[in-house]
Amino acid sequence: MSLALFHAILFYMFAAVAVGAALAMVTQRNPTYSAFALIVTLVSLAAVFGLLGSPFIAALQIVVYAGAIMVLFLFVLMLLNVKAELRAEGEGRVFTLVALALGAVLAGEVGSVLVAVRTPMAGAFDASARAVAHVLFEPRYLYVFEATSILILASLVGAIALAKRDPNP
């Protein structure tokens, strides 16, 4: 078995798991299941990044999304012990119709992009830590990157201010 075939098999395996888990995340009624399904999707995506030859991005994907952010999601879900989503009476049909319409629009958009744009398969590229840092910190992206950092800092300060609010003023 050639290496390329082995890679292809692994790629389709992880891609299928990612799509399947994403579907499960949307269709599950129980939020904790959804969170676990989302984790599976994120980890599969990381594996796809790894197969494309960028272990750095793969590791970051797991550390940041699957590791840090999803732990917080799960923590809150379990702390509040959220049971299955409650569905409001009579609103189900309207929601289903709106969701179907929006889904059709999205499917149409994806289809038109797939038909119109012929992108070649992602080939080998340099995605080492050094290369990523050079792209991030070159003048083109530097300001955007720093602005994002300030945005995150601001939300952090906001969260602390909200949490620190005196319960009995």
């Binding site: 990381a46 590791a59 550390v63 699957a66 732990v71 923590f75 830590a129």
Partner: protein, 349 residues
């Protein structure tokens, strides 16, 4: 028999994986025995000494016992996640070992009876020499939390749920400190590769990161102990308040798997301590040849340290644990990163 280069690599990797898996399983079962005997010695007891000479067959007896016990699944438990949790814990624990290096490279001897491509071939003593080894390790340790969280949640028991919640909060907090303690090592070595970080500590013992970067080492020791859920940070399974924490409802082999995951994580943490802070396979005196023996010795010293700690220090209270993690460890690690970065810049200019 002629194999293509890819097949040769695959064959060598497979053998490496099997050997290291076997070694880990052996070390795990030996550790359960050693831990009980050493703890007993520290507490003026005898410990298990009935099964075989000096009780050496105790792990075998334990294994057989766990094998034949009944698998109990609580009535209200979530069947799928309840079964998946121990598997997830063990898989992530074993996957993390893949990037741990045990030594530099060795050359196979020319024996004459092996296939041509094996004669005198250079073999790296590591399953996968990843460029981002430290990050990979970190990623898997963050995934390992889910095994515990899932186990606690799926069992549908308040004690296990609290155990799972505590562990997610604890590991999240201490992972941050652990990661920050690695940053200064990466800065000094200029690489995420574990191999490069080990090689940056070549020469005299003074160039070991444990000495050169003492604050980072101190943060690592505490955070690693918390990360592998060992006393004094074994809050997720505090038996005085939570029965047995997240694995209260587990029995038989599923319990054994959770236990195994914990020990494998401890072994990985010890291996990382030996590699990243104690110079790995370098002896610490120039002229003494590098050897995996030094690495294994340092790793065993770390393992003993974990047992020693368990026999010595009482458990923290939960709020103390959180305060210590966020208000002491993280600031110390942050401050040291600035100092280390300044030193690296100063040396470069």
């Amino acid at each position: 028999m002629s194999l293509s280069p890819v097949q040769q690599e695959l064959a060598i990797s497979t053998v490496k994986v099997l050997v290291i898996f076997g070694a880990l399983m052996t070390l795990f079962s030996v550790m359960t025995y050693v831990e009980r005997r050493v703890l007993a010695f520290m507490q003026f007891r005898l410990g298990p000494n009935r099964t075989g000479p000096f009780g050496l067959l105790q792990p075998v007896a334990d294994g057989i016992k766990l094998f034949f016990k009944e698998e109990v699944t609580p009535a209200g438990a979530n069947k799928f996640l309840f079964v998946a949790a121990p598997a997830l814990a063990v898989i992530t624990a074993f996957m993390a070992v893949a990037v741990v290096p045990y030594g530099g490279t060795v050359s196979l001897p020319h024996w004459g009876w092996m296939p041509d491509w094996l004669e005198g071939r250079r073999i790296a003593l590591q399953i996968s020499d990843l460029d981002v080894g430290v990050l990979y390790l970190f990623a898997l340790s963050s995934l390992g939390v889910y095994g515990i969280v899932m186990a606690g949640w799926a069992a549908n028991n308040k004690y296990t749920l609290i155990g799972g919640l505590r562990s997610s909060a604890q590991m999240f907090s201490y992972e941050l400190a652990l990661g920050l303690s690695f940053v200064s090592l990466i800065l000094v070595a200029g690489s995420f590769r574990i191999h490069d970080i080990v090689d940056s500590q070549k020469g005299w013992i003074l160039s070991w990161n444990a000495i050169r970067q003492l604050p980072a080492f101190a943060v690592f020791l505490v955070a690693a102990t918390a990360e592998v859920n060992r006393t004094p940070f074994d809050l997720p399974e505090a038996e005085t308040e939570l029965v047995a924490g997240f694995h209260t409802e587990y029995s038989s082999m599923r319990f054994a798997l959770l236990q195994m995951a914990e020990y494998i994580n401890m072994i990985t943490a010890s291996a990382m301590g030996a590699n990243l802070f104690l110079g790995g396979w370098h002896f610490g005196i120039p002229g003494v040849p590098d050897s995996p023996v030094w690495f294994i010795g340092k790793m065993l010293a770390f393992l003993f340290f974990f047992i020693w700690l368990r026999g010595t220090v009482p458990r923290f209270r939960y709020d103390q644990l959180m305060h210590f993690g966020w208000k002491v460890l993280v600031p110390v690690a942050m401050a040291w990163i600035f100092v280390a970065a300044a030193l690296v810049l100063w040396r470069q200019s």
